[in-house]
Symmetry: C2
C-alpha cells in the first residue's frame, strides 16, 4: 500500500465538520409509525413575537429532511461501518429473499479477491441478498398484490411532514394563511398521504420507491407527481480528477442541502470500491449508469461492449445495493440517423456509447434486445429503471426533435414491458428546451409513457450562459416540475465547463430545491406554503434569526446579512442595511398599523392576540376619518 | 475639505480596470443610420472549425450592447467630464426646448451654491434644458404627431442587432438552424424593426423610450413587449453604507453585464451629488424614486411630506436628467385597510411612505390628487412615468390580493391621464408570486393598463431561499417576461439581507439576462436564437474559446473551465474534465458520424463543407447495413 493510497483510505473515513454540524435551532425528530417505524424529520424552533401585549410564541416548523443521521448530533457515524441497516428486518421478515455466500457477478468476485485494492475496500460488507428463485421482490409487485410494505408507510409519514398532526397549530400560527389554490395539470395531491394511497400509486406505476434489498441503510422516499417534487444530485469521480474520500464527502454534503437521491456517475479508477463506500453510507437512493462501468471494462472501446459484460455489471451493482439504473435501451439503430443534422448530435454519454456500438456492429441496441432479461435482474433485487434519454437535445436548436420523441415512444413501449414484470420505472427527460416547448415534453411523456414518473435534467432554457447553468436550468426545472415532472436532476454552475466542487454542488442543489419547492407551491401541495408563511412572518416581524433558520441555506443567509451589518445587535434591529431605519417599509407598515388602529388596537399583533380582527378595526377607524374627509369636499372617492 | 472627502472625490474619478476592459475577441462596432447616426454594438469574432477538409470560418456574431463607451478601448473616458452628449444636436435641432440659466428647483439652487459639498460636485454641468412654454417634448408626443425622432431610429437599428443585414451569413453559418416558433401571448415581434414601427409603438403607449432632454449622454433604448425584453439593475447608497465612487463604479459595472437601465435608489448623504455623477456618466436611462429624496428633506418623517417639497424634488431631478420616475400615485387611502390582514403588510418603501402620510393626514395620496400637475412637469423634460406598485405583495401569501389589484386598476386610470398629456408610462409589478398566479398578473395588467409596458420585480416564486433570491426570482421573471413583461427589475443574492457588492450585482444581472433571453426565445424573437446556436455549435466542435466568448460572462466561463483543466492545451482538447476522453459524448458522436458516413463522408464537418447532406449520407450507409441486418433475421425493425 503506497503512502498516497493509505492517505486516500484514511481520508475516506473522516467527514469534515461542515457536513455534519446540525442546522441552527433545529433538532432531528422521529415520527412514529406502526411496528416501531421511526421517520426522521427536522423541527425548526422559532423565537417568540414581541408585541406590546408581551411575548407570543411561534409554533416550530417541521420540514422534510433528506440529510439522514449526519445532522443528528446523537448519531454515531463511522464511515468504515456504514449506516445502520434500517430496512434489514423488513426485508428479512418478507422471507422472499436469501443471503448469498458472496457476489454472484464475475467482476464482483474479482474485486473482492483483488489484493491490490484491498486497502481501499469497504471492510464491513454484508453478503448480498437476492430474491429466491422465481420470486419478485419489487415494491411494485407487493403493491399490486395489495401489500402495504413498511417502505410505503415510511414514505407516507414522511411526505406529510406532520401536517396532519400540526394543522391546527399551524392554522393558529398563520402558516396556512391564504394558501393559494394550485394548478396541478392533472396531478392529484391528497390533503393527507396515507400508506394505502402510496400503495395505489406504486401499483399503478405513477410513482416509484427506489429501494434495492441490498441497500438496507436507505430511508425510503417516493418519486411520483402526486407527491413532493424531488431532486437528484450527481457526484462521481472521472478519469481526470477526484477520489473516494471526496465522493463520500460530496454525497453527505449533497443530502445535507436537500438531494433526495444521488447518482454516482464515477468513470475513473476504483469505481466499484467508491460505490461501495457511497452506498453503505447513503440514507438516500443511489442511482448509476451501468454502461459507464461496462465501458471501463472494455478499455473505453464502445464497439467491444457485449451483453455478457453489461449483464455482469448489472448484477455486480445490484448486489452492492444500487437503487436505480439508467438504461439507454431506447437508442435504436433506426433513430441514429435522425441525429445527424443536429447542432450538437448526441450529448448523452450513454446514448452516444450505445449509438456507437449499434453502428459498429450494424445491430440493434443490445439493451433493447435483452430488455426482458434486464427486467429479470431488476426484480430479483428491486432495482428501478430510469429509462435513459440517450437522444435528448443538447442545445436549444435540437429541442423536441424527431429523434427525441421517437426515443420517448420506445421508452413507453419498454415501460409496459417492465410493468409486465412488476419492475418500477421512471423516464428520463431533457436537457435543453426553450420555455415554450417545455410543456409539450411533459404532455408527450405522460401520453406515451402511461404516467410513469418523469425525471428531467433541467431543462436549460438557453445555451448562452455557461457558468450559470444552474440558473438557466432552474428556470426550466421549476416549470416542468409544475407541469408534473416528479424528480429534477440538478445542474451545477460548472455544467459544460468542469467538475463541480463542494460549493458548486451546494449552489446546484439549492437552485433545485427552489425549483422543486416553487413547483410544489404552484401545484398546490397542501403543506408547501407553511414554510413560506412562517419565514415571511418572521421577516415582517424582524425576527432575523428565524428568517435565517427557516431558509434553505441558513448559513448563507446569515453570512450575507452579516457582511453588511456584522454587529450582533443588528439581528434584533427593526430595520436592515438595505434601507436603514427611516426607509424600512416594514417598519413604516408597523407605524401604519399603529396609526390606523384606534381604540387601543395599537398593533396588528396586539389586535390579533386579543382575538380582534385588525382589518375590521382599521376599517372602523378609517371610516370615521373618511367621513370627515368627505365632508371637507374631497373628491377622490367619487372616482370609483 | 477633509482627507476622507478628498479621497471620495478622487476615487469617484477613477474606474477600476475590471469595469473597463473590452470583452475577449470582441470589438465595438457602429452601425450607421441616417444623418450620421451611429449605433454601437458588439461583434464577437470566432475561430474557424477544423475538419479534415481544412479550416472553415465561422461568421462573427453581433450582439446588443448596453455597456456604452466603457468597453471601447478607443474611447477616452474622463468621469469628471462625463460622456459625450450624443443626443445634444438632436434635442437642439428640434427647437422646442431652451437652456435655462440654472436649476429652477429650490433644492437644485441650494445644492449648486453649497460650499460644504463643492468638492463632491460634478464640475462640468451644463445648464438644464426645459421645454419652451406650453410645449411638449416627449417621445410620445412626437410619435403621435407622426414624427420619427433620431431616438426612434436609433432604437430600431439597435433592436435589430444587424439581423437584417447578416441574415444570409447567419443562415450559412447554421445560426438560424431550427429556429423554433414562439408562443407570444399576443405580442407581435416583427422580423425587422423599422423606425416607423418604433414610432407606432411609442404613439400607442405600448412602448416607451425613456430619454430626458437633460440626459443627452444617453444611448436610446426602448421598453415594450414587442421588443427585446430588458432588465434593470438597482444601485444606490443607503444611510448605512456606500459612497459616490462606489456607486459610479457599480453603474458602469452593471451596464457591462447587461443592465438596460439603472435605478439610483440612494437614500443616504449626498443624494443630489451622487446622482449628478451617475447621470453624466450613464449611457443608459436612469430611474429614481423621488419620494426617497423628498423624505430625506423632511428628516425621514413621512407625515411632514408636502406636495411642494415633492414637486421641487421632481423638478430638481428632472433637470439633472433622470429618465424615469417611480411614482406611487396608486396607493389610495381606501386601499390601505386592505393590507391590514396581510402577512407582510406593505413592503414597497414608497408605498409605505405614502400610506403613512395618508393615514397621518386622513387625506388622499397627494401624488394622486396632483397627478395632472406631475404630468405637466414630466412633459417639460420628457421624464417617463414608472407607476409604482406600492401595494405589491411581499410574500407568497399576499400575492394577487385585493389590495394589489385595486391599486393596479388605479394605475390604469392614471395611465390614461398621463397619455392624455402624451407622457410616457410603464407600470410596475410584483414582487412575490407563486408560479400558478403569475400569468394572472400579466393578464390583469394588460387589461387594466391598456397594454402600457409592464416592469416587474422578479417575481420571486418562493419565500424560503434568502441568499438565493436572484434564482427564486429569475424563475418568475423568465415566465412573466415570456407572458409579456417588457422590463425585469433584477434581484441580487443579497435581497432581504444586505446591500449588494459588485459580485452580487454581477450575479443578479446575469441571472436576469438569462431570464430576459429565455423569454425572448420563448416569445419567438427573430434574432434571439442566433447566439444559442453559435455557442452550441462551438461547444460541439470543442472550440472552447468561442464557447467562452459567446457566453454572457466569458470570464466566469473561462475561469470555471480552468479550475479543473488549467493547461492552455486543454482549450484545444476534444474532451473536457467532466467525462474525460473515453466518455465524452460529443467525441463519441463525432465517431458515430464517421462510422455512419460511408463513401468518404468521414465527418459531419467534411460532409457539410462539400455541400453534402450528412443525414442523407448516413441514411444511405445505414440502409445498406440494415438490409444485411434484416437478412440475418433480426426482428427489431418489425416492431414499428
Amino acid at each position: 500500500m503506497s503512502a498516497v493510497e493509505k492517505d486516500i483510505f484514511r481520508k475516506a473515513a473522516i467527514l469534515s465538520d461542515e457536513v455534519r454540524k446540525p442546522f441552527p435551532n433545529s433538532r432531528k425528530i422521529f415520527v412514529a409509525g406502526s411496528d416501531g417505524l421511526r421517520v426522521p424529520m427536522r423541527e425548526i424552533s422559532l423565537t417568540p413575537t414581541r408585541s406590546r401585549a408581551g411575548l407570543e410564541a411561534n409554533a416550530p416548523v417541521t420540514v422534510y429532511d433528506t440529510s439522514g443521521p449526519y445532522t443528528d448530533p446523537e448519531a454515531h457515524i463511522d464511515l468504515t461501518r456504514g449506516l445502520p441497516a434500517l430496512r434489514a428486518p423488513w426485508i428479512e421478515a418478507r422471507g422472499d429473499s436469501e443471503s448469498l455466500k458472496g457476489p454472484s457477478s464475475i467482476h464482483g468476485r474479482i474485486r473482492a479477491a483483488d489484493g491490490v485494492t484491498a486497502h481501499l475496500r469497504f471492510a464491513h460488507t454484508r453478503p448480498p441478498r437476492r430474491a429466491k428463485a422465481g420470486v419478485n421482490v419489487t415494491q411494485m409487485h407487493y403493491a399490486r398484490r395489495g401489500i402495504i410494505t413498511p417502505e410505503m408507510e415510511f414514505v407516507a409519514v414522511r411526505e406529510n411532514a406532520r401536517l396532519d398532526e400540526l394543522r391546527e397549530e399551524y392554522e393558529r400560527a398563520g402558516y396556512l394563511k391564504r394558501r393559494h389554490r394550485g394548478q396541478a395539470f392533472g396531478a392529484h395531491l391528497p390533503e393527507v398521504v396515507t400508506p394505502e394511497f402510496v400503495r395505489q400509486e406504486v401499483a399503478s406505476g405513477r410513482a416509484i420507491i427506489p429501494a434495492n434489498i441490498n441497500h438496507p441503510e436507505l430511508e425510503p422516499m417516493i418519486i411520483g407527481r402526486n407527491f413532493r417534487v424531488k431532486i437528484n444530485a450527481n457526484i462521481g469521480n472521472s478519469a481526470v480528477t477526484s477520489g473516494i474520500a471526496e465522493e463520500v464527502e460530496k454525497m453527505v454534503w449533497a443530502i445535507r442541502w436537500g438531494a433526495d437521491t444521488v447518482m454516482d456517475l464515477s468513470t475513473g479508477k476504483h469505481i466499484h470500491e467508491t460505490r461501495e463506500w457511497i452506498i453503505r453510507n447513503a440514507p438516500v437512493p443511489i442511482g448509476t449508469v451501468p454502461i459507464y462501468q461496462a465501458l471501463e471494462k472494455v478499455g473505453g472501446r464502445a464497439e467491444e461492449l457485449t451483453w455478457e459484460i453489461f449483464r455482469d455489471t448489472l448484477i455486480e451493482q445490484a448486489e452492492q445495493g444500487v437503487d436505480y439504473f439508467t438504461i439507454h435501451a431506447g437508442v435504436l439503430l433506426r433513430y441514429i440517423p435522425l441525429t445527424a443534422n443536429r447542432v450538437t448530435g448526441i450529448v448523452s454519454r450513454g446514448g452516444s456509447i450505445m449509438a456507437k456500438w449499434c453502428l459498429a456492429h450494424h445491430k440493434e441496441n443490445f439493451l433493447y434486445t435483452h430488455f426482458e432479461e434486464i427486467c429479470e435482474i431488476m426484480k430479483a433485487y428491486d432495482v428501478s429503471f430510469s429509462l435513459g434519454d440517450g437522444l435528448r437535445p443538447g442545445c436549444i436548436a435540437d429541442a423536441n426533435d424527431e429523434a427525441q420523441f421517437a426515443e420517448l415512444k420506445t421508452l413507453g413501449e419498454l415501460t409496459q414491458i417492465a410493468w409486465k414484470h412488476d419492475v418500477q420505472v421512471m423516464i428520463e427527460g431533457p436537457g435543453h428546451v426553450p420555455m415554450q416547448l417545455i410543456q409539450a415534453n411533459m404532455d408527450e411523456q405522460l401520453r406515451h409513457c402511461f404516467e410513469a414518473p418523469f425525471y428531467t435534467l433541467g431543462p436549460l432554457t438557453t445555451d448562452i450562459a455557461p457558468g450559470y447553468d444552474h440558473i438557466t436550468s432552474a428556470i426550466g426545472a421549476a416549470q416542468i416540475g409544475w407541469y408534473g415532472t416528479a424528480m429534477l436532476c440538478y445542474v451545477t454552475p460548472k455544467e459544460h465547463l468542469g467538475l463541480p466542487d463542494k460549493e458548486d454542488v451546494r449552489q446546484g442543489i439549492v437552485a433545485y430545491k427552489i425549483a422543486a419547492h416553487a413547483a410544489d407551491l404552484a401545484k398546490g401541495h397542501p403543506g408547501a406554503q407553511v414554510r413560506d408563511n412562517a419565514l415571511s412572518k418572521a421577516r415582517f416581524e424582524f425576527r432575523w434569526e428565524d428568517q435565517f433558520n427557516l431558509s434553505l441555506d441558513p448559513e448563507r443567509a446569515r453570512s450575507f446579512h452579516d457582511q453588511t451589518l456584522p454587529q450582533e445587535g443588528a439581528k434584533l434591529a427593526h430595520f436592515c442595511s438595505m434601507c436603514g431605519p427611516h426607509f424600512c417599509s416594514m417598519k413604516i407598515t408597523e407605524d401604519v398599523r399603529r396609526l390606523a388602529g384606534h381604540a387601543g388596537a395599537d398593533t396588528h399583533d396586539a389586535a390579533t392576540s386579543r382575538g380582534g380582527d385588525p382589518s375590521a378595526l382599521i376599517e372602523q377607524g378609517l371610516a370615521e376619518k373618511a367621513e370627515q374627509f368627505r365632508q371637507q369636499g374631497a373628491e377622490v372617492y367619487q372616482r370609483r
